[in-house]
Amino acid sequence: MTVGLDYNRIIDVLPEDLASGAVAFEAHGLVIQPEVLTGIAAFLKTEPGLELDYLCSITGVDCTEYFEVDYLLYSLKLNHRFTLKVRLADRSEPVIPSLTGLWLGAELQEREIYDLLGITFSGHPEMKRIFLWEGFSGHPLRKDYGHGH
């Protein structure tokens, strides 16, 4: 049975500078600031006892007032999982660091979120549209995307 890790356990072992970026715990996920994303992800990937080395999926959500990006991480060896959530308040130019340096599996999923939601991932090797064509105006999964496009 895959066990969802208790967030208190994670907060206890995080180094000081990364733990300060943890904001809240909601809906089984740890909400963190975008600046500490790469640091916390790298820590979770390599820390013995956690070893969350498998990036299962990245979901982008348009929560009207802010954007949210959820990262679901698994450990195949220890059979547990953890979710990281990052909230972006800037709706006009949302930017978040890319995790392609840690996981190759983030590459296509981040392009999909850029294409459909307009969130830019800084540090991504090829930040361009993936499903829709160049010249398509707008980002369809946004809640304010009208059918006039």
């Binding site: 499903f131 829709l132 160049e134 398509f136 995307y145 059918h147």
Partner: protein, 195 residues
């Protein structure tokens, strides 16, 4: 990625995007069914009728399908061409990937605007006489995806369609009934009017 003559794949993306947007802006209404020859049927003379019958028999009994299938209906087409439903008894077991060799395009699957220029290009490369069967709800009107932002509402926006087969996906028996309709339509062509 550098693709030669100083271009890279980004330039190719931009160019293709322009082509797709142009096609989308120009394809605003359905194209009419190709039926100009129906009025000519009345004016045929006896000699061309026999030649017509022979040519039409040859064309309808050996339709070669172009394999430009997009989505789910492909598998019902493959089922039809397997030995259980046996499309080979209509002379159609030959599938050609090259449009130069094919004369029938069966639109098995949803068409998106991104794919539309490619399908239109493949259709234009097919030699006359050629026919199009719109298979399935997505081929007729966009089907269950009709109000999506990236789906073409029916293949007749970009191609003239001869036969429509409803279903999602249509059963192999339905596809065979549609092919029979197309064969009846082919029987009525006449070479005298240049069709």
């Amino acid at each position: 990625m550098e693709i030669g003559s100083g271009m890279n794949s980004r330039d190719l993306d931009l160019h293709e995007g322009h082509v797709i947007e142009d096609l989308r802006n120009s394809a605003v209404a359905g194209l009419p069914e190709p039926s100009g020859w129906l009025t000519e049927e009345i004016e045929r003379n006896i000699i061309t009728t026999t030649v017509d019958k022979f040519l039409n028999w040859g064309r309808k009994t050996s339709l070669w399908t172009e394999t430009s299938f997009t989505a789910c209906c492909t598998f019902e087409f493959i089922s039809t061409s397997s030995s259980r439903f046996d499309i080979a008894r209509f002379g159609m077991e030959v599938l050609r990937s090259s449009p130069r060799h094919a004369d029938l395009m069966i639109t098995a699957g949803t068409l998106t605007w991104k794919m539309a220029p490619q399908i239109k290009r493949v259709y234009e490369q097919m030699a006359e006489p050629k026919w199009v069967i719109a298979m399935g709800a997505c081929g007729i009107s966009g089907g269950i995806f009709a109000d999506s932002y990236s789906v073409v509402p029916g293949y007749n926006r970009i191609l003239p369609v001869d036969v429509y087969i409803p279903g999602c996906p249509p059963r192999p028996e339905a596809l065979l009934a549609g092919i029979e309709l197309l064969r009846k339509k082919i029987e009525k062509r006449s070479i005298a009017k240049g069709s």
